[in-house]
């Protein structure tokens, strides 16, 4: 059992919901990311999603696109992010999933990448442009090494597809709240409560909701029907707002705490 699965067991026993925080690795710097991960853990993030920057982030909105480009300009690579995770693991056991487009992983090589990610201390992988049907090879290595391969469900997913996806799912299921790209939104459609409940009835794997969530109230609403809530762009925006201020990690942690504490 990896750290993500252990965390959900622990939360389930306490009847609690997961707060999952996304940040783009290397924005504004890898050193800042190191400090942010530790600060977010203290602020109540149950799982950290580390975004791997990519040149062509087609599933991301403006906020994460910009963070990705800034990070790439500073020379962030997948290898450096694995080194960062290794360094975090010396002092923290917070569950970490990498969120990456498939090309950097494919270039690395499926098997080598899973081996190195596992040994660095990565617990899960979220790959928005890798549907189950194309994930066969990578999934084989991931299952063998107990790295959770986390798949998506969307409001447009048919029941038939959903049943296939939950069968392959590891760690948790990432339920996309709206058809669209990542980015904070004023509201999340009410219809997804029914869809998330339907997904939860199909599987024991926890179902967490992400995309567009940016306020404590939204977090609370969604936690009433999901196993966890994922917040990304709102945190990335907050990081950008405080730029290179010395107390940036503390300020971002305070922002996250306002959301995580409602769970």
């Amino acid at each position: 059992m990896n750290r993500i699965e252990a965390k959900f067991n622990e939360l389930r026993a306490k009847k609690k919901k997961a707060f999952i925080a996304f940040i783009t690795a290397g924005a504004p710097s890898l050193e800042a990311t190191y400090n942010l991960v530790l600060a977010l853990e203290k602020a109540g993030a149950d799982i950290i999603e580390l975004g791997v920057p990519f040149s062509d982030p087609m599933a991301d909105g403006q906020t994460i696109q910009e963070a990705s480009f800034r990070s790439l300009k500073r020379g962030t690579t997948l290898k450096k992010i694995l080194q960062l995770v290794r360094r975090i693991r010396k002092i923290s056991e917070v569950p970490i999933a990498l969120m990456t487009y498939y090309n950097p992983v494919h270039y690395f090589g499926n098997e080598t990448f899973i081996d190195e990610a596992k040994s660095a201390g990565v617990d899960g992988l979220i790959i928005p442009d890798l549907p189950v049907v194309e994930a066969f090879a990578l999934r084989g290595f991931a299952v063998k090494k107990d790295v959770s391969l986390i798949f998506f469900l969307a409001p447009t997913t048919s029941n038939e597809r959903a049943r296939e996806i939950v069968k392959a799912a590891g760690g948790f299921i990432y339920f996309v709240s709206v058809a669209g790209v990542t980015g904070a939104r004023a509201s999340v459609p009410a219809s997804i409560a029914r869809q998330v409940k339907a997904a939860r009835s199909m599987t024991k794997v926890p179902v967490c909701v992400g995309f567009g969530i940016s306020t404590p109230q939204q977090v609370k609403d969604i936690a009433s029907f999901a196993d966890g809530v994922i917040v990304g762009s709102a945190i990335v925006k907050e990081i950008q707002k405080h730029g290179r201020a010395k107390d940036m990690p503390a300020r971002v942690a305070a922002f996250v705490k306002r959301m995580s504490s409602v769970l």
Binding site: M58, L78, D129
Partner: protein, 394 residues
């Protein structure tokens, strides 16, 4: 074996590498296109618009003065440049717009590089009264200002894309973002044999009219099959359209010409097959220009329509399987070829198509004896006059 397989794979390439939100739609589109393509009424309607509106069949023209100059080659030009809108792109947009109408979609989006696909999309949207939004890299908006005016005249909204390298690949990213957001009422009209399945297959089928006609015309004129086919390859739709109907003819040597920009040994080119490695971009696995960390590199070509770091997956398969050969032609060679064709035949080709013409002198030196060749003249050069003027001024 017939390609692609049921998940859109051409050997090791192709597939559907897209966000989950789009998967159900892609499966629907695949079913809808399969239904259309089997339906005689659809084919009749498609044929009607190709003939009456776009001006098919296009001529297979024997370029006598060019051939004489090249000595060892008898060159036929497949005149896609004479189609309405000035390039082969309209074959595909007419087919897809008919599919989109059957699916009840009201809003059409497209990406464009040189602007030819944007123009061809704006054209068919005007023809059928559908809303049209075209994403175009801000850099290309500048390079191809006349095509922007053409699109706007026909009622399309052109959105300049400022992210990334501000060229075709970024326009495609932005189009995919729009699509994933407006998936219920929007049809994404992809302009080439790339993207997720079923697009590479569907666009190949729609563009195959080029090769089907050329094969018949050549057989009529020469009573045999051609020795060579030559076409330029960016995404590769005109090339696949010409190549596919010949791909089982063992005696026909198929050559795809990629844009070598400043040279294959430099970083400034667009030759994904000649100089790239397998990778995943915009929904499919194919040859891709990328760095040692799997980040996609910016492409370069004097021809905006070839300025793309990837290539259609079936071309990667054709290359791997030895069905076709892929070569590179530099910016300078393409411009020389543009001048050559202008002066010998009175035909000014698009800079993209000039890449295909530019391979002819090399091929002429390579062949033994006297050989026949069909070149796909995919578009005309009117749109490139500004670029040409700048290049000629130095």
């Amino acid at each position: 074996m017939s390609m692609p397989d049921k998940n859109g794979h051409f050997g090791a390439f192709g597939g559907r590498y897209v966000p989950e939100t789009l998967m159900t739609l892609l499966l629907d589109l695949e079913k809808e296109f399969a239904r259309c393509w089997k339906d005689p009424a659809f084919k009749k309607e498609f044929r009607f618009y190709l003939e009456e509106y776009a001006g098919r069949p296009t001529r297979l023209y024997y370029a006598e003065r060019l051939s004489r100059q090249l000595k060892s080659l008898k060159v036929y030009l497949k005149r896609e440049d004479l189609l309405h809108t000035g390039a082969h792109k309209v074959n595909n947009t007419l087919g897809q717009i008919l599919v989109a109408r059957r699916m009840g979609k009201k809003r059409i989006i497209a990406e464009t590089g040189a602007g030819q696909h944007g123009v061809a999309t704006a054209t068919v949207c005007a023809l059928f009264g559908l809303k049209c939004v075209v994403y175009m890299g801000a850099e290309d908006v500048k390079r191809q200002a006349l095509n922007v005016v053409r699109m706007q005249l026909m009622g399309a909204e052109v959105i300049p894309v400022e992210s990334g390298s501000r060229t075709l690949k970024d326009a495609m990213n932005e189009a995919i973002r729009d699509w994933v957001t407006n998936v219920a009422d929007t049809y994404y009209l992809i302009g080439t044999v790339a993207g997720p399945h079923p697009y590479p297959y569907m666009v190949r089928e729609l563009q195959s009219v080029i090769g089907i006609e050329a094969r018949k015309q050549f057989l009529q004129k020469e009573k045999m099959l051609p020795d060579y086919l030559v076409a330029c390859v960016g995404g590769g739709s005109n090339a696949m359209g010409l190549f596919y109907p010949f791909h089982r003819d063992k005696s026909v040597h198929i050559i795809g010409v990629e844009a070598a920009g400043h040279g294959l040994h430099t970083a400034a080119h667009s030759a994904a097959i000649c100089a790239g490695k397998p990778g995943i971009l915009h929904g499919c696995k194919s040859a891709l220009l990328q760095d040692a960390n799997g980040q996609v590199l910016n492409a370069h070509s004097v021809a905006a329509g070839l300025d793309y770091p990837g290539v259609g997956p079936e071309h990667s398969y054709f290359n791997a399987a030895g069905i076709a050969e892929y070569v590179g032609v530099t910016d300078k060679e393409a411009i020389d070829a543009l001048k050559l064709l202008s002066r010998t035949e009175g035909i000014i080709p698009a800079l993209e198509s000039a890449h295909a013409v530019a391979y002819l002198p090399k091929l002429a030196r390579r062949v033994k004896g006297h050989k026949t060749v069909i070149v796909c003249l995919s578009g005309r050069g009117d749109k490139d006059m500004n670029t040409i003027r700048e290049v000629l001024r130095g």
